[in-house]
Symmetry: C2
């Protein structure tokens, strides 16, 4: 989940300076409109970048009118708070309608701290997360605009930050022993963080994961996200006279540059002879492993998504060549049938789940909801936004039942796609694959990029991570997928 935001987002000094004045005017104007409105704004700043949260808060105070914004730094509970139920401290500090309340750390971080310090057992963590979900759900049902930002630092950057801060007189005094302590337990903490973020990333209250490495990028992104969500909600409320309907803020407020896809190294390649050799090796392995899996009743589900002409079919054929046809099924996902449309979205995928020992390969999948259906407007905003948690829940159930689930994104760039389109047109047996629509889709490339980025952010979990496969070079992609599946099967057997 978090690796999807470790992509080196940054904003230059000039770009930052150019954006800030407008953002400030926009935010302050929105804040004034908010005072007349009938809903409160709850901004939650959490993550593993404690100093970053503080710095961001300073920026927000610079960008907005502090008189109408109350900050609640909820770290260790006070004696007074310890004498009450845990959520007392959050309830009593909720902003009233028309105002903004900023919460630092608060419920998600407190849950993490309690668990990591051994004060919460596993079953109690689950209950706490359930209370958090309900708390947030109740706030939203009551009309609150809830914006949750998780500021993430990779382990390397975490260490760099601490070291740098120690040398910087303006920051040194802010570092506490616990920050170094936090670094030593980084790996444990990140696992718990993933669980907490994953379990509280709901349709009503989605998380915005923010890379916190570059302060300018972080502050400008959060500020812009707050402005866009706030102005969207203000517009919605003033236009709409129907009874209140909760509106979830857009998941990613602006096209992130770069996206996670930009981290994929597309220059990889493989010679024909190396390819043949490795193909033989891995297909042999796969054949043996998948027989074993079938005998032990271990099922697999392989999900293939990717750009048009990224080579999904070719990869799938290299896999199935090594598998027993009795035990696998390839299911190409096209537009839903009327029967499928008459059921909830995930129904048609539930129906295709493999029996024990079998393998189902999805050529495109349930991710259509948050990709093509989102980009082409075939699903409403609320439908695709809540799909992330529906899908996570679905995949969690697959994992719990012992199914090996792999998700591949086959990545190519636009030039390579064009080359392949042209190639298809001139290859007699591939011609049928091309339609005008394929060219039209290319215009939506940036919007697909954003959708892919959000998808990976919200659905790449420890249990079911996304594998981004560089596919400009087909041979490389095929070996990469074969190898990945073999490794996963081996771990599992």
């Amino acid at each position: 989940m978090f690796e999807a935001v470790e992509i080196g987002n940054a904003l230059s000094k000039e770009a930052y300076k150019a954006r800030i004045p407008d953002l400030r005017v926009n935010l302050i104007n929105a804040q004034y409109d908010l005072q007349e409105a009938d809903f409160p704004v709850v901004i939650l700043l959490a993550g593993n970048d404690r100093l970053g949260c503080n710095a961001l808060l300073h920026t927000l105070h610079d960008l907005m009118d502090g008189r109408y914004m109350r900050t609640n730094a909820l770290g260790c509970p006070t004696a007074e708070e310890l004498e009450r139920p845990r959520f007392w401290r959050y309830w009593r500090t909720l902003p009233r309608r028309g105002q903004i309340g900023v919460f630092l750390g608060a419920w998600p971080l407190n849950a993490m701290q309690d668990y990591l310090s051994g004060n919460l057992k596993k079953v109690d963590l689950e209950r706490r997360l359930e209370h958090i979900r309900r708390f947030e759900q109740d706030l939203v049902a009551d009309g609150a605009l809830l914006l949750k930002f998780w500021l993430h630092l990779s382990k390397d950057v975490f260490k760099q930050r601490l070291k740098a801060a120690k040398k910087n007189p303006r920051e040194a005094w802010q570092i506490e022993a616990e920050d170094w302590q936090a670094y030593t337990v980084y790996d444990d903490a990140i696992k718990v963080a993933e669980r907490v973020v994953h379990e509280t990333d709901t349709g009503e209250a989605p998380w915005h994961l923010i890379e916190s490495r570059n302060a300018r990028y972080r502050d400008a992104t959060v500020g812009q996200a707050i402005f866009e969500a706030l102005s969207q909600r203000l517009q919605h409320d003033s236009a709409d006279t129907s009874p209140h309907m909760p509106v979830a803020p857009a998941t990613s407020p602006q096209a992130p540059q770069p996206t996670i896809l930009d981290t994929v190294d597309l220059s990889t390649s493989l010679s024909r002879s190396d390819y043949r050799r490795q193909r033989t090796t891995y297909q042999g392995q796969l054949s043996r492993l998948s027989d074993q899996a079938a005998m032990q009743g271990i099922s697999s589900i392989l999900v293939f998504e990717g750009w048009d002409a990224a080579g999904k079919g070719g990869v799938i054929r290299r896999l199935t060549a090594a598998m027993d046809p009795e035990h696998y099924n390839v299911f190409p996902v096209a537009a839903p049938t009327p029967e499928e449309l008459a059921h909830p979205y995930l129904w048609r995928f539930w129906r295709r789940l493999p029996r024990a020992g079998d393998v189902t390969i999805f050529d495109r999948s349930w991710y259509g909801r948050v990709l093509v259906e989102r980009v082409e407007g075939l699903a409403s905003a609320s439908e695709w936004q809540r799909a992330y948690s529906e899908i996570n829940d679905f995949e969690e159930q697959l994992g719990d039942s012992g199914i090996v689930l792999l998700k591949f994104w086959l990545h190519i760039d636009q030039d390579e796609q064009l080359r392949r389109f042209r190639d298809r047109e001139t290859t007699p047996y591939k011609k049928y694959k091309m339609t005008d629509e394929d060219y039209r889709n290319r215009d939506s490339w940036p919007r697909y990029e954003q959708a892919v980025h959000d998808m990976i952010l919200h659905t790449s979990t420890k249990q079911a991570p996304w594998h981004l496969i560089p596919s400009n070079h087909k041979r490389w992609a095929r070996i990469e997928v074969l190898k990945t599946y073999c490794q996963r099967l081996e771990e599992r057997l």
Copy 2:
């Protein structure tokens, strides 16, 4: 929770016969309209009355057109189902839009069985319940009309039913060894059932708890509930052209006769001398116990609800007389202030929570949402319907934090209320208590009865049960409350 439906609901043969023909016509017509509509109906029949679920299903088949209603009896999973993730069996049998799917037992009973048979640990039961909540939430979000009926038998009646069925040739063959087995573990099972029902009783998917003792009452009540929810939804959909908004069915479809309040024995009384003696005893006890509680940092919250003039003030004074003023606070709940209205409903109660060792007495409480606000239309249907689960979550947090929570309903009948109103008007220092509104409220008595009944059904939990106090005789009520609080404190200390 379940004791609230053990009240002897019954319908005579004549009354049943009189109602059935209309109900059948209504249901069949609604079913035809449903075929043109854009939503599916999911009816879940569960509970501890397995034979009752079967019998009810027969009645439903008699009342509706079986061609457009598919039944899914999901008991022990089949071999095919065991090879897939647990929810596969539910997903694959979901009805399509325009159709009715009836599920017998299914997800709630399967969870109970897995837990009771030792296949699910406690932490996994919590996760399973979370999956159930999300599954139901997703169905409703997708547009389904989800109706959940829990058929309950008390332990006595459970045994009688099995014995009677054994003698009845038409039923004897239906009884299985597991039914007797279910009887022997009745007490354990009912605890798990309460947890399952409580945790899945949400605003979007509330449970209808049905007393299953009398088959005619049960079948007519469920049939009527289905008809009302279905026709309400059909009307809503045809009237409304705005985007789909989930509609929760009304919690109790019709005024139950009798309600739980009719089980309160109002003939109890206490002589003046007995009263004095007992008051001295219990006030002495309370004084000692509440000192101890204060020292140990154990807090209490006492909630008083009841009819106007039921004597809440008098009871509260008899309690506080024995308590240290430093440690208690009485908080009379009136209409919310503008500041309170600017926050979520429960905010003003969260703020009043006692610190460790203290006692807060609420003269009226958060239950106003599902009583006066519901009956007088001050809260929207969706607001008061989701309040049950908000309140349960709130009280669960109070319990988890170690607070002793007691909830009293002071019950009087209408005659007694009138007597007290008249009395107030002629007593100089009580005159100020009377307004015309008090008399007007008497007209709403049946609607309040229904609201109280639903409130107790949905919020009387093992951890925080309601105590129904017969209060026609004031002395009796005062002793009863004193005694109950002393007992709870004694258990806790």
